[in-house]
C-alpha cells in the first residue's frame, strides 16, 4: 500500500475526529467542555516560536498553538489536519494539498495557501536545518487557488509527507513575518498560529498559560479552557507535583525512569509509553572512529557483545523503551525485523579482541578508553557506570568524564571525544533520521551529523538509492541491505529504542491518539468529571 492511497482514503477531516470521540464513547465518557489542564515543561524553552527554536520542550508547548498540514498515526500513516485531502503523483514528485477553508489565525486573519507556501519555502527553509535539507528539493511551490497548494520536487521523494507535521513545518502567519528578520520579529514573543490554544501569558521561570481559541476551525473544540505549563526544574519536585495532583500530566523528560514504577502503582494515574513512534529516538554508544582501536570492526563488535541490553531496558529504564535490535527502530518505516545484532557473548567478545591483537596486561586490561557522560539527567550517568562495569568484563577500562550540556555539544561537534552516549530522532523514515549518522557525505563538525566518522561506500550508495527510489518496495530492499551491513560493522553501538513516559490523571482523556503523542494539538483532550 502506498502513502498516496492512504491519503485519498482519509480524505475527510472529520473522520479521525469522530473516531477519537468514539474512542472516548467506547470508554463510556462523552467529551466534557471546560477545565484547565495543569502540566509541566522541562527545561524551560527560550522562545515558543516553533522554527525559531525546535528544542523538545518548545515543540511540546508550541504544537498546541501551531499546526502542520498533516499529522501521523502510530503506524506513521498521514492524518489530515490543515490539509483536508491531498494527492501524490505516481512518480512521487508532485504533491497537491487541499486546505481546510475556515481556518483562522489567532489574530483573526484567515489562513490561506500563501501562508503555507511562505511557511515551507521561506520560514522553515531559512530557520530549521531539518526542514532546509528536505525543502531544498522543492522546485516549485504554487497556489492554483487560495485553498490549494501544489509542490513539485526536483526529484522523487517518497517520505516527503512525513515532513509536514507541525514539529517539522508548522504553518505560521505570513503577514506577521514577511519582510522581517524571522528570529527577531515581534511575533516570536507572542506566537500566533492556527492551533486550538493561543498564547496568553508567560512568566519566565514560573509558568506558561495557553487559552482556548474560540474561533478554532474544528467546531466545538477544543474541550479544555486552558493549559498551564509549570516550569519545575527539580525532578523530585516534578514527581511530587504529579503525585499530589498539582499537575495532571507529565511528559518527555519530566519524570526520571526510576521514579516511574512507584507512579505506576498509584490508582489515579495512568502511565503510557506510546506516542513516540514518529520521533523514535534510538540511543547508542557514540564511537569516534578516529580513536584507536575503535576503528577496528572487531573491537566494536566485541564491545557490542559485552552489553546486556535487556538489563539496560529493564533495570535502568524500568521497561520504558526496549532493547535495540538494529540501527532502525522497530516503529520507524523499513525496519527489518530479520536483521538482528549479535547476542551478548563475553567469550566471543574476548576472542574478537584477542584476534584484534589486544591482549590483556597483568591487570587484565586490554586498553583504556574515555567516556564522555551525556549530561541530560541522572539516568545517563547511571548508564555510563553500567557500561564501565560491562566493558571491564572483557578487559576494557572505561574512564568516565563529566561535563555539562554546552561542553558536551561542543566536544561532540568538534570530534573531541573518544566515546559518549547519544540519542537521535528518526523522524519516521530512515532517509530523514537514520542516514545522517552513517553516510560519509555527512561527516561534519556539527552535532547529529556523522560525527563518528564511519565511512563505507556501499552504505553511502544504498542510502542514496533509498532516498530517490520511488516505490516502498525498492526502498525496503536498499534499507534491508544497509541494515545487514551496519549490524555487521557496528559503526555505533545501539542500545535502546527509547520512549518517554507520559503520566496523567485518569480523568484526562485522549492524551495520546497519534504517533506524535504529547506533541499533538490537544484539541480533543478533555477532563472527565
Amino acid at each position: 500500500m502506498t502513502i498516496s492511497r492512504r491519503g485519498l482514503m482519509a480524505a475527510t477531516a472529520a473522520a479521525p475526529v469522530l473516531m477519537r470521540v468514539q474512542d472516548a464513547l467506547a470508554q463510556g465518557v462523552t467529551p466534557r467542555r471546560g477545565g484547565t489542564l495543569a502540566t509541566i515543561l522541562t527545561p524551560e524553552p527560550p522562545v515558543l516560536q516553533i522554527g525559531v527554536n525546535n528544542q523538545g520542550p518548545t515543540i511540546v508547548a508550541a504544537t498546541k498553538m501551531f499546526q502542520g498540514l498533516l499529522t501521523f498515526t502510530p503506524k506513521l500513516e498521514p492524518i489530515p489536519l490543515l490539509a483536508k485531502s491531498w494527492t501524490v503523483s505516481p512518480d512521487k514528485r508532485e504533491y497537491t494539498f487541499r486546505l481546510q477553508e475556515n481556518v483562522k489565525f489567532h489574530d483573526g486573519r484567515p489562513m490561506t495557501a500563501d501562508d503555507v507556501i511562505f511557511s515551507i519555502m521561506r520560514f522553515h527553509m531559512d530557520l530549521a536545518p531539518r526542514a532546509r535539507a528536505i525543502f531544498q528539493m522543492i522546485e516549485t511551490a504554487t497556489a492554483p487557488d487560495p485553498h490549494t497548494v501544489r509542490l513539485v520536487l526536483k526529484q522523487p521523494f517518497e517520505p516527503f509527507l512525513l515532513m509536514l507535521d507541525a514539529s517539522a513545518s508548522a504553518i505560521v502567519p505570513k503577514h506577521l513575518f514577511d519582510g522581517q528578520d524571522f528570529r527577531t520579529a515581534p511575533a516570536v514573543q507572542r506566537p500566533v498560529g492556527t492551533g486550538p490554544f493561543r498564547f496568553a501569558e508567560w512568566q519566565r521561570g514560573n509558568f506558561i498559560r495557553l487559552e482556548r481559541f474560540d474561533d478554532y476551525w474544528k467546531p466545538g473544540q477544543p474541550y479544555l479552557d486552558a493549559i498551564i505549563y509549570r516550569i519545575i526544574p527539580d525532578s523530585q519536585s516534578r514527581r511530587l507535583a504529579i503525585e499530589t495532583g498539582q499537575a495532571q500530566l507529565t511528559q518527555a523528560n519530566d519524570i526520571e525512569p526510576f521514579d516511574v514504577p512507584q507512579l505506576r502503582s498509584r490508582p489515579n494515574l495512568e502511565v503510557q509509553t506510546t506516542g513516540w513512534e514518529y520521533f523514535a529516538p534510538l540511543s547508542w554508544i557514540e564511537l569516534n572512529h578516529r580513536v584507536k582501536p575503535l576503528d577496528d570492526m572487531r573491537v566494536r563488535q566485541a564491545m557490542s557483545m559485552a552489553i546486556d541490553r535487556n538489563f539496560i531496558a529493564q533495570r535502568l529504564w524500568f521497561g520504558i523503551g526496549k532493547p535495540a535490535t538494529n540501527p532502525i527502530a522497530s516503529t520507524t518505516r523499513f525496519h527489518d525485523a530479520t536483521v538482528k545484532l549479535a547476542a551478548r557473548d563475553l567469550r566471543a567478545a574476548a576472542a574478537l579482541l584477542d584476534a584484534a591483537g589486544l591482549r590483556p596486561d597483568a591487570q587484565g586490561t586490554r586498553f583504556t578508553i574515555k567516556h564522555l557522560v551525556l549530561p541530560y539527567g541522572e539516568i545517563w550517568s547511571r548508564l555510563g557506570e553500567y557500561l564501565r562495569q560491562s566493558l571491564r568484563q572483557i578487559g576494557i577500562a572505561v574512564e568516565l568524564e563529566s561535563t555539562d550540556a554546552g561542553s558536551w555539544a561542543r566536544r561532540v561537534a568538534n570530534w573531541e571525544y573518544e566515546t559518549t552516549l547519544n540519542f537521535v530522532y528518526q523522524y519516521g523514515d530512515p532517509t530523514l533520521g537514520v542516514e545522517r549518522t552513517y553516510v560519509s557525505t555527512n561527516i561534519q563538525k556539527v552535532t547529529f551529523a556523522n560525527t563518528g566518522g564511519y565511512s563505507n561506500p556501499r552504505v553511502d550508495e544504498l542510502f542514496a538509492r533509498a532516498r530517490t527510489a520511488v516505490t516502498p518496495e525498492d526502498r525496503q530492499a536498499a534499507f534491508s541491505e544497509v541494515q545487514k551491513i551496519l549490524v555487521q560493522e557496528v559503526p555505533q553501538i545501539w542500545l535502546m529504542e527509547m520512549t518517554f513516559p507520559t503520566i496523567h490523571d485518569r480523568r484526562l482523556r485522549n492524551v495520546i491518539t497519534t504517533g506524535l503523542g504529547v506533541h499533538s494539538s490537544f484539541d480533543d483532550v478533555f477532563l472527565a468529571s
Binding site: 484547565t36 495543569a38 527545561p43 524551560e44 527560550p46 522562545v47 527554536n53 525546535n54 528544542q55 523538545g56 530549521a128 536545518p129 531539518r130 532546509r132 535539507a133 528570529r183 527577531t184 516570536v188 514573543q189 512568566q203 519566565r204 521561570g205 514560573n206 509558568f207 498559560r209 486552558a226 498551564i228 509549570r230 516550569i231 519545575i232 526544574p233 527539580d234 523530585q236 519536585s237 511530587l240 507535583a241 503525585e243 499530589t244 498539582q246 555539562d404 550540556a405 554546552g406 561542553s407 558536551w408 555539544a409 561542543r410 566536544r411 561532540v412 561537534a413 537521535v424 530522532y425 561534519q444 563538525k445 556539527v446 552535532t447 547529529f448 551529523a449
Partner: protein, 328 residues
C-alpha cells in the same frame, strides 16, 4: 561621628568601588567565555538536527563571530552606559529578564534574611542569658543541627512533612496559577507558597546568627565595663540590651552585610527545589545554555550589590560603635 569627613569618604570608596566593579566585569567576561561551548552549539545540541548554516546564522546573530576583544569592548561600552545587553537566545533585553525575576528573589531572600536575623539574634541572646541551662543547650543543639544540615535536605524534608503528609502547603511555585484571586487572597496565596522556601533558606543563616550572637555576647559579658555596670546597679535586662548586645552586634553586622550582598543573587538550590522563579535559577540556566549576556548581567548586578552593602556595613559600624572611624 564626624560628618564632615563623610563626603570625602564616600567619594574615595565610590571610586574604589567603580574600579573593583569594572575589574569584576572584565574577569567575568573572560571566565564565562573560557567555558567550552557557546550558545549556538547548545541550541544545536538540543534541537535534534543541525547544519553548518544554522550554527553560522546563530553565531552571527549572537555576535559571536567577532574576535573576543571586540566583544569585550562592545560589552564594556554598553555596561558603562548601564545597558546590560540583549539575550538573543530568549529574544529579550537582559535588564527586563532580570527585572522580571527580581521581585521573586527579593521577596524570598528578604523574608529569609529578616527571619534569620531577627530569629538568630533573639535565640542567640536568649541562649547567652541562660548560658549553661537547658534553654541554652536546646538552642545550641538546634542551631548546630541547622548549621550542619544541607539546605536541599531541609527543603525536601519540609516538603515531605508539610506538602505530602499534612497537605497544608504547596510544594512548588510562587502562587496558584489559573485561579482567580483578589486582593488579600493573592497575598495569602503567595505567603503560603513562600513559607517553605523562606524557612529552608532562612534556617541556615538563623543558626549562624544564633551561634555568632551567643558567642560574642558571652565574650563581651566578661569584660570590665559590664562588671562596672552591674556594680553600679544597672538592671540586668538593660545591661544585656545596652551594654552587652550592642557591643556584641559588630560581628553579626559584618556577617549580615555579607549575606545582604548575596540577596540579589538568590539561591540556586532553594529556587530549584521549590521552583521559585528567581534570579539564582536565571543565572544557573543561563550558565548551562551559555547565554552570556544574561549570566554577565546577573553577575554585574550581584557584584554592585556586594560592593554597595560593604559600604553600607562600614557606615553602620560607625553608627553602632562610635569608636570606629570612617576611613577610606
Amino acid at each position: 561621628m564626624d560628618l564632615t569627613k563623610l563626603p570625602g569618604f564616600l567619594l574615595r570608596r565610590g571610586l574604589k568601588a567603580l574600579i573593583v566593579v569594572l575589574a569584576i566585569v572584565i574577569c567575568n567576561f573572560l571566565l564565562v567565555h573560557a567555558a567550552p561551548g557557546d550558545p549556538a552549539s547548545v541550541i544545536a545540541g538540543q534541537s535534534g538536527a543541525a547544519d553548518p548554516v544554522f550554527l553560522e546564522q546563530l553565531r552571527r546573530q549572537f555576535g559571536l563571530d567577532r574576535p573576543l576583544y571586540v566583544q569585550l569592548w562592545i560589552y564594556l561600552k554598553s555596561v558603562l552606559t548601564l545597558d546590560l545587553g540583549f539575550s538573543h537566545r530568549q529574544q529579550m533585553s537582559v535588564a527586563s529578564l532580570i527585572l522580571e525575576r527580581l521581585p521573586a528573589t527579593l521577596l524570598l531572600t528578604g523574608v529569609a534574611f529578616a527571619f534569620a536575623l531577627a530569629g538568630g539574634v533573639t535565640l542567640g541572646a536568649l541562649a547567652a542569658r541562660r548560658v549553661g541551662r537547658w534553654a541554652d543547650s536546646f538552642i545550641t543543639v538546634l542551631a548546630l543541627t541547622f548549621y550542619a544540615t544541607p539546605l536541599f535536605w531541609v527543603g525536601l524534608m519540609l516538603v515531605l512533612v508539610f506538602s505530602v503528609w499534612l497537605d497544608w502547603l504547596p510544594s512548588f511555585g510562587m502562587g496558584s496559577v489559573g485561579v482567580d484571586l483578589q486582593g488579600v487572597e493573592v497575598v495569602l496565596d503567595v505567603a503560603k507558597h513562600l513559607l517553605l522556601p523562606a524557612l529552608t533558606l532562612g534556617l541556615f543563616y538563623l543558626a549562624v546568627y544564633a551561634r555568632l550572637t551567643r558567642a560574642t555576647m558571652l565574650e563581651v559579658a566578661d569584660q570590665d565595663f559590664v562588671k562596672t555596670a552591674r556594680a553600679k546597679g544597672v538592671p540586668e535586662g538593660r545591661i544585656l540590651r545596652a551594654h552587652v548586645l550592642r557591643n556584641a552586634l559588630l560581628p553579626v553586622i559584618t556577617f549580615a552585610g555579607i549575606q545582604a550582598g548575596q540577596l540579589l543573587g538568590g539561591s540556586i538550590l532553594v529556587e530549584t527545589v521549590f521552583a521559585w522563579p528567581g534570579i539564582g535559577r536565571l543565572a544557573f540556566e543561563a550558565l548551562l545554555a551559555r547565554d552570556y549576556p544574561v549570566l554577565l548581567g546577573v553577575f554585574f548586578c550581584t557584584s554592585v550589590m556586594v560592593v554597595l552593602f560593604n559600604l553600607l556595613t562600614d557606615l553602620l559600624y560607625v553608627v553602632v560603635d562610635p569608636r570606629v572611624e570612617a576611613a577610606g
